[in-house]
Amino acid sequence: MRPGSRFYSAVCETEVVIVRAADVVELSCGGVPMADAAPAVRSSGPARGHDTGTVLGKRYEDGEAGIEVLCVKGGRGSVAVEGRLLSLKSAKPLPASD
């Protein structure tokens, strides 16, 4: 896992790109491990508790692991690291500068 690498959900359309990498074993979506290639077949859908969805263009992070991802394709599953759901990163918007 390194910045820029892309991970695909096995249960929904969610795709994320690593913005800040961390030394974590596993990234999951919908409760199922994500893979670094698009799945040939998707399984049934996100597990309960992992189904609040991931929104295109939003950044998600886990402070404990120090990981941050950008959602580049939205889906119904939620992304988690070591079982903890990532939280939406809220940054104060900057004024447009260019």
Binding site: L56, V72, L94, A96
Partner: protein
Amino acid sequence: MNLFMLLEMAADAAPDRVAVGSRVGGIGYGQLLDRAGAVATRASQADCLALLDLNGPAMPALLFGAAAAGVPFAPLNYRQTDAQLAAATDRLSPVLVVEGEPFAGRIRPRPGVAVSRIDDVAQGGPHTTQRSVDPDAPAILLFTSGTTGEPKAAVLRHRHITSYIISTVEFASADVDEAALISVPNYHIAGLSAVLSSVYAGRRVVQLPSFSAEEWVDLAVAESVTHAMVVPTMLGRILDVLDARDERLPALRHLSYGGGRMPGSVVERAMRLLPHVGFVNAYGLTETSSTIAILGPDEHRAALAATTPEGRARLTSVGRPLPSVEVEVRSADGAVVEPGVAGEVFVRGEQVGGEYTSHSALDDQGWYATRDRGLLDSDGYLFLDGRADDVIVRGGENISPGEVEEALVTHPDVEEAAVIGVADTEWGERVEAFVVPVAGKLLEVAELQSWVRERLRSTRVPDRFHQRSGLPYSETGKLLRRVLRDELDDPAAPSMREHVMRDTAIVEPR
């Protein structure tokens, strides 16, 4: 992460929204994605995709198409001579150069340099399925303006630019009525970052092929432009046109400026003329993927309303560093200085490329020396003070040319001023000034000297004055003191046609 993904995301979010052009008949995000795919098919046959053109609707497709093909995009400066362009394209070889209509025939096709017309590349055609693009691959090659020497190509990798966009722009945050006017040339970092930021924000892009203040105002009115970025010389001229036409651009919300020193008086005038507009001062460099510090709209308003000199001074600050970058000011011996002390500005962050085709200029810890001189105040506001190379050392004392120039231009009869250091046997360097009088006014050396002496320390008073009808600026409004230094070094230079003002001599008005 690569630049093409930014467009893919935007097209995914709003395929039918207009990305480039007029609200009716413009190119939608979905269409732009298709065009970029078509460009990628052609671009993948070369190692680099270069562009020689004014701003136009094909440019965004070429920028994203090169990214999709995994080859760097190299917009060329059409103001360069044919010989310079030939040297640049040689350096980029094997390269596919796309020529716009106005520049047809300027690049000679030769082995390693293929030339295509813009319509052949940017329209339709088969699509390439996206290769997986390494975030570490070069995305943009830009020949820098070279205010400190010979032009060189800066390298920005996908990870630098995407990091800049993702950390500074909220995805799909633009209202559907927002439109950004791009008038900076596409071979300038701000011309590229404006396209990338706008696409990621979902903001429609309106392009001015090349800048004139009249056309800028016409287009801003016709397209109900809400956002724009200008360089200092543009802003002054735009204000003149707005004044003359009694036009106030009611749709405009946001005007950012950067690329060179902006006189405080111009900002003040702009804020009073356009009180409904939020002004943003953006400081950045090609090597840093554009903006690294911002003075925002609220900070502008607070500075204008301030009653203390410190509060007012904020209007001349370039603001605070972005949360995603670190800025340090260091003295000549490399030590980080205290707030309020001037030195050279260093920057570090994921968006900082600091790299050229020949070498990386980052130090071991990832810091990039901007060669800009400046200081951070106690609240973290950055004030710039010209290029580090422009500092005059007179008798061991550092003198900033900007400070003396600022004093000179407050004189009612002085239109423009430039100050440089000239080798001096007694002082090491002495201060000399180039001045442009206000039309019809006479300038007197003794008068100018006492004007400066009343405002600054006597060591800062220029020993000699040279009158000019104009001063050399880069296209983005940076005063080119180097050109003036070169002129003095070589009095036979053709541009040395105007005379030195003798002490107390009255000089003819221009």
